[in-house]
Chain length 287, copies 2
Amino acid sequence: MTQNSLPIGIFDSGVGGLTVYRALHDRLPNERFVYIGDTARVPYGTKSLATVERYAIENSLFLKRKGIKLLVVACNTASALALPRIREATGIDVVGVIGPGGRKAIEITKCENPKVGVIATEATVSSQAYAVAINRACENAVIMQTACPLFVPLAEEGWTHEAETYSIAAKYLEEMREFQPNALVLGCTHYPILREVIQETVGPDVKLVDSGEATADEVVELLKKRGLENPHEVAGDRELCDDLDHFYVTDAAERFARVAERFLGASPARLKALELYSGDEWQKPDR
Amino acid sequence: MTQNSLPIGIFDSGVGGLTVYRALHDRLPNERFVYIGDTARVPYGTKSLATVERYAIENSLFLKRKGIKLLVVACNTASALALPRIREATGIDVVGVIGPGGRKAIEITKCENPKVGVIATEATVSSQAYAVAINRACENAVIMQTACPLFVPLAEEGWTHEAETYSIAAKYLEEMREFQPNALVLGCTHYPILREVIQETVGPDVKLVDSGEATADEVVELLKKRGLENPHEVAGDRELCDDLDHFYVTDAAERFARVAERFLGASPARLKALELYSGDEWQKPDR
């Protein structure tokens, strides 16, 4: 198998990265994907730097062993905290979601002194990774960041239009609404699920940036630049979650399939639950 | 050190077990406690049987190595799914929260054909552990169970009296309110934090059962029965989280201390973050 025909790896802390998978799948009909969701240890957003790094490296090395030409870190928290260590550990091309999300926010504001909002997990906000990425793209940008811890469980519950979700969003985004950013980065893979609630809360003039979609755009460019596109056309129509794409979870496969159905309207044709991690390999527990 | 003067071990998936620690501390002023919260892998409530068993055994063996005379499994999910395997692996006296909670519910209903409600995590509800425990205490009991996934993040956010919390409780507990149980078991260590909201939602005639308090009552009895009480009076007043009690977390100690302050009004004098698990010992990661 040549390098070009290898799949693209996608790593997420759980099910949220499926929104990034969809964005990649839509843009790259000739590519295959292999996805790992670390459902045995989700969520990452409330965990420490050392722990997130360790988990991210374990998952990335698992995908590397499967054979991939490029690794996309779909999890914002892992992208914010662990990207340098993932690159060092895997030695392959790695794309995170923070840089693309930050650049996209600046690009769409089209102003000299843009105001940019970021909503994300506690760990991502504390890391300042988005602030660094946004200021690298435009040093005049004024940035406001807010953690929205309840958005992840609300998205996982599928409460996308409930009155309680609107009310919680109004509470979290009160200052953001006053700040009136030109662009607001959805800095967690779950947040696009609540896109309509968020848009209504901050008002129609705020442009929402889906970091996953921005990342998918950059992956398309990177494959071209590196000459890594798959030259073989895939026969027939590709569908989301069809049997060319392989999904792995570290726990609770049925739950993953159920949430995938809710997020994508389809559940994976090929989904495998890995046994627990013990040392240097995902393997069966010793029992 | 004699067996009697050893501390009591408390294991929880995270910070929720502090409510059980408080109940034990209040009743047993001469006892010392050693607590582990598995914050690197919290929550357990959405994870599978195999994973919960594995994590529970690792944490229980850690406490056994510290030297304890009795192990209290404060986590409802671990109690529901893993108690037999924990007993087998540790070979010491182990008390879970499900049996005591179920027995207490029957005891306080004081009727021949009681109606008992249970609210808990998805995993605990699916396990049917409470239904088994309640029917063992009273075979005529009619039982209704409901999972309330958003209660844990709401409690961790400290949203104990917010309008959104009332509204979410009304949604989850609509059928429970119609069922009008004689007793309602709070089958997750986080739920007592939302006690007032839950009571208002189901109405004043429903008796709430805190499994953690029921467990603390049974631990007092068990220590007496086994002759395992600490015969030495502790000098001076004991305070919650004073330096006689030792706390361990597997990640993010500052966050644990912050939530402890919110739950108990005090944060641990002795709190240690363990490094990540790799094989047979909690130890430093290989980096």
